[in-house]
């Protein structure tokens, strides 16, 4: 029993020891700038975030090669350092880790996390501790509608802009498509895309012949494809994550689906690797591609090359990297490592990225967009807008005709 009491006292003592008021060391000119983030390195979301720890560490290295981030009030550049934890794809875990970073690790700012599962619970924490948080791949608009003042996000692209260029493009092709059929992956972002763009399609004069939703685990699409074939739409619009749509695309080929064009909202290298030639001729969206020059494109290309990540494979990478770029630029704009000043800078500023300028509305929601691409002879080419195109659009889409 003596052991019992000792144990209890020890536990209580330890608890008190580990808790101390968290002091933020803001406005320092000698310490590195600490950015805290979690990455889903394990668990179901890890398939989307391959090698991101390396990516993040390399980014810091590259930035620090020229001294770091310019902080005017210190008259010099301060090095950048990341604190990275694995959230294991579990929201409760992410919350604990962000709390740790806020109160124990004393980070200056937050970047990330990704995914709506985490983008729901984590942001209120930013408000609680008044630490600016530039989230990465969180695209669900509802997350930004909660009156939170310390969050921004850099998903690429945002749902309202997702297929803007594509729908612009199809008003200018010949023969012009008259009808469209949506196939949607049961996921909030994808459903948001279908909802938004089916409305826009109708406004443009296209007849929406149907919208079938499939669950993420679906393997056999025979019934769904049967419905699509029966509708005989000019354009088939697949709003889906790349991985979830692998069997769909394969079976669409096998079952000889025909259309003027098959459009895929996430036409990626991962999809290409898994469906091979089936992807030929499909159009899609890509926020950026090495070869398309833009601000910071050299930095981004170097970082990706060094960490062995290709944009075409893991398109969420641009969202991640842009959150880092935005934060760095916000600190530079603020001129001081101060949370309130950086917060102001984030709302007011225009931020450069390889895919164009990024600005945020008062909810922290960005205006990012994407280019239209097409798979041609095993290569992905930007086909719209024509000014930045790396290849000419082939319309109607090759291989989906006979």
């Amino acid at each position: 029993m003596k052991n019992c009491v000792t144990r209890i006292l020890a536990t209580a003592g330890l608890a008190l020891l580990m808790s101390g008021p968290a002091t933020a060391k803001q406005n320092s000119c000698s310490d590195p700038i600490l950015l805290g983030t979690t990455i889903s390195e394990t668990g179901p979301f890890s398939t989307l975030a391959d090698r991101w720890r390396k990516l993040t560490e390399v980014f810091a290295e590259e930035i620090n090669k020229t001294g770091g981030v310019m902080v005017k009030s210190c008259g010099k550049k301060l090095p950048l350092k990341f604190v990275i934890y694995d959230d294991q794809s579990v929201p409760a875990t992410a919350l604990q880790l962000f709390e740790k970073m806020a109160t124990v690790d004393n980070v200056d700012f937050f970047v990330g996390p990704d995914w709506s599962s985490l983008g729901g619970p984590v942001p209120p924490l930013a408000d609680k501790h008044k630490i600016p948080m530039v989230m990465a791949n969180v695209a669900t608009p509802a997350v930004y509608e909660r009156g939170l003042k310390y969050i921004w996000g850099t998903p690429f692209p945002v749902v309202p802009n997702w297929s803007a260029r594509y729908f612009d493009m199809i008003t200018k092709v010949s023969p012009q498509p008259q009808s469209i059929y949506f196939i949607t992956h049961d996921n909030p972002v994808m459903k948001g895309i279908s909802a938004t763009w089916s409305k826009k399609a109708e406004a443009q004069g296209l007849k929406v012949l149907g919208n079938e939703t499939f669950s993420p685990e679906m393997k056999d699409f025979t019934a769904l494809i049967a419905k699509v074939r029966a509708a005989k739409a000019d354009v088939i619009y697949i709003a889906s994550y790349d991985n979830a749509s692998v069997p769909l695309v394969q079976q669409m080929r096998q079952l000889r689906v025909r259309a003027m064009d098959v459009h895929h909202t996430m036409l990626t290298g991962a999809l290409f690797r898994q469906v091979g030639k089936d992807i030929e001729g499909m159009t899609g969206e890509l926020s950026w591609y090495p070869g398309v020059k833009g601000d910071y494109s050299d930095l981004v290309e170097t970082v990706m090359k060094r960490s062995d990540v290709t944009m075409f494979d893991y398109i969420w990478t641009l969202g991640r990297l842009t959150s880092y770029l935005t934060m760095v630029q916000a600190i530079e704009k603020a001129g001081v490592v101060d949370r309130e000043r950086v917060k102001e800078a984030l709302f007011k500023g225009t931020f450069k990225s390889p895919a164009g300028d990024v600005t945020f509305d008062e909810k922290g929601f960005p205006n990012t967009g994407a280019f239209t691409v097409q798979m041609q002879n095993g290569k992905v080419n930007v086909v719209w807008p024509p000014e930045v195109a790396t290849g000419k659009l082939v319309w109607p889409s090759p291989t989906w005709q006979q």
């Binding site: 029993m1 009491v5 694995d86 409760a92 709390e99 729901g120 942001p123 209120p124 909030p188």
Partner: protein
């Protein structure tokens, strides 16, 4: 094959006052946590509390009752959704919480009906499959659950109130565990865990008990889900029904020891801390290390590490490893008179039939086990039941005690048709039985085995009183030296004695004895025969005794009934029956008739 454990229970630990003081200190420290200014520790502490609520509530159904509910997390998810939907609709937090509890409790009640038709592994499969089912429902019932979008709760910094509420729920859960094990309810759970059928035949009403424990378990699961949803302010189907998190609380409890008083608590604390430490300090391979720990415990200490032998030797840990055996050794106020049992002395009315079978038939598919058997046994008779193996004797017992429902015919007990009664009802009417192969409640002590029928009989007793009264039966069965030993550690003969004593503890008017004498020495047989006679002479108990040892029957029975392949072929005094031609040919073949012999005794 299993290692027999002669577990002596620890003598009443002197932990009384110190234990409560210690608990008070711990709770005080936990209460102080929100005000210590470290929100990381607070968030971590909150998740530990939630894990404990889930683990402990799971253990009532699994550790105490033996039903492994792998889908326990659905109550968590359902509670989270119900709470969130209510909160978003504008109801206040307390109302939403109560709503979540009520609705989840109702779900548990509904699920109990189909689920408890299953046992063992099938129960585990079915509950496991409920998780993906609920996830699909959450994804697809979009008008209610908002589907894949999830439910966004209004932002409120509620970590501290959520934590305090969770702490309160934890304390309640712990107290509930203590209480459950002190009430008859706990003993009902434990008897179900060991042997449901036997539990019923000693008077335990198992269906309401199962429903109740599932509902209680669901209520706590729902509380955990609601509080976590409140604190996270966002839920979606994958978060609350995900297979990657749903087994974690279960693994935590199993890790330390399911069914132990401190098992869930220790397991949750250790594994949650370990997981957090790994996350923060080890980069890469945390899941591997975590999984490896679980694997090693499963391989080397599957009862949970608190049940490992080395734990008993470590002073602090030994206290944590105590099993739930309350009232151990209770013995105050028990009469020290040998051979006197606290049984009513029934006046046997030898004219009235106590039990009557009218054309009872028991058929399994094409196999007729009991074929139109009619018989009458009066009060106070001792009747032998003989027949070769497979002749339907045990089946007949099963028909009488309600284990089987006869395919045709009636069983009347003291004039009442037993068809209207369930097994437990029949037991309470006064039908007690032993089983051919003893079926004690293995992981309960000898004393508890006997106390349970006393608790659940027609005149129910409180657990404390029942444990006291059980002493007399234990002494009668000459098992006093084994009072606090686990029943599965007994030798076969001791188990038979226990079986007999337990049957007596049901305060039977009719005692069905199934081949208790085989394997006994002649002296022991004689003693046993005296017991039987004593039962009838002193307590007026009517006995039907299935036995092969005719020398035993000869000493005490009034008459004998013989069965062959389910059919009654003889009914009369022993001397006549053993000369009966049909009986002879049954036992010895047709050639016996020519010998005009008597059955060897």
């Amino acid at each position: 094959m299993s290692a027999t454990r002669t577990t002596r229970l620890p003598s009443k630990a002197g932990g009384g006052v110190l234990g409560w003081l210690g608990a008070g200190l711990v709770i005080a420290a936990l209460l102080a946590l929100p005000f210590a200014g470290n929100s990381y520790l607070l968030t971590f502490g909150f998740s530990v509390l939630i894990a404990y609520i889930l683990g402990q509530s799971w253990d009532w159904v699994a550790g105490e009752m033996g039903y492994v509910n792998l889908g326990h997390y659905i109550f968590y998810g359902f509670g989270a959704y119900a709470f969130s939907i209510a909160l978003v609709s504008g109801w206040s937090m307390p109302v939403s919480l109560v709503f979540a509890l009520a609705v989840t409790g109702l779900l548990a009640l509904l699920l109990a009906v189909p689920l408890f038709r299953l046992h063992g592994d099938y129960f585990a499969f079915a509950t496991l499959a409920l998780l993906p089912l609920m996830e699909v429902l959450a994804y697809n019932l979009t008008p209610i659950t908002k589907g894949a979008d999830g439910i966004v709760l209004p932002v409120a910094q509620v970590l501290t109130p959520a934590y305090l509420l969770a702490l309160a729920v934890c304390v309640i859960a712990f107290i509930a565990t203590l209480q459950i094990n002190q009430l008859r309810f706990g003993y009902a759970l434990k008897s179900i865990r060991n042997d449901e059928q036997v539990a019923e035949t000693v008077g335990v009403r198992i269906a309401p008990v199962k429903r109740l424990v599932l509902v209680i378990s669901a209520l706590f699961g729902a509380a955990a889900g609601a509080l976590q949803a409140w604190q996270m302010s966002y839920i979606d189907p994958a978060t609350v029904f995900g297979l990657n998190v749903s087994l974690v609380p279960i693994a935590m409890v199993l890790f330390a020891g399911s069914g132990l008083r401190f098992g869930p608590l220790v397991g949750v604390l250790l594994l949650a801390s370990m997981q957090q430490w790994l996350l923060v300090n080890i980069q890469g391979y945390q899941a591997t290390l975590y999984g490896l720990t679980i694997l090693l415990i499963g391989r080397f200490m599957p009862g949970g590490f608190l049940r490992a032998k080395w734990v008993k030797k470590v002073p602090g840990l030994a206290a944590l490893s105590r099993e739930h055996h309350e009232y151990a050794g209770e013995a105050e106020g028990v009469s020290a008179q040998p051979d006197v049992l606290p049984l009513p002395r029934l006046r046997a009315d030898c004219a009235k039939p106590l039990i009557e079978l009218q054309g009872v038939r028991m058929q399994f598919g094409g196999n007729v086990a009991v074929n139109d058997v009619s018989l009458k046994i009066n009060e106070g008779e001792i009747v032998g039941l003989i027949g070769p193996n497979g002749s339907g004797k045990t089946t007949l017992f099963n028909c009488i005690s309600g284990v089987y429902t006869p395919s045709a015919g009636k069983v009347l007990f003291a004039g009442q048709d037993l068809a209207a009664f369930g097994r437990d009802g029949i037991a309470r009417l006064g039908v007690g039985r032993t089983y051919q192969i003893p079926r004690p409640f293995g992981d309960l002590t000898v004393q508890e085995n006997i106390a349970i029928p006393l608790m659940f009989g027609a005149q129910p007793m409180s657990p404390r009183d029942a444990m006291r009264e059980a002493r007399a039966f234990v002494d009668y069965a000459e098992l006093s030296s084994r009072l606090t030993d686990r029943a599965d550690a007994l030798s076969v003969q001791e188990k038979k004695a226990l079986e007999f004593a337990r049957a007596l503890a049901t305060r039977p008017r009719l005692l069905l004895v199934d081949e208790v004498a085989s394997g006994l020495t002649p002296v022991e047989v004689k003693r046993f025969v005296e017991h039987i006679r004593h039962m009838r002479d002193r307590y007026g108990i009517t006995v039907i005794w299935v036995e092969h040892i005719f020398s035993a029957l000869e000493q005490v029975v009034d008459r004998v009934i013989a069965l062959e392949q389910g059919t009654l072929i003889a009914d009369g005094p022993l001397a006549e029956v053993v000369k009966d031609e049909r009986v002879l040919s049954t036992y010895l073949g047709a050639s016996a008739r020519s010998r005009q012999g008597v059955l060897p005794c």
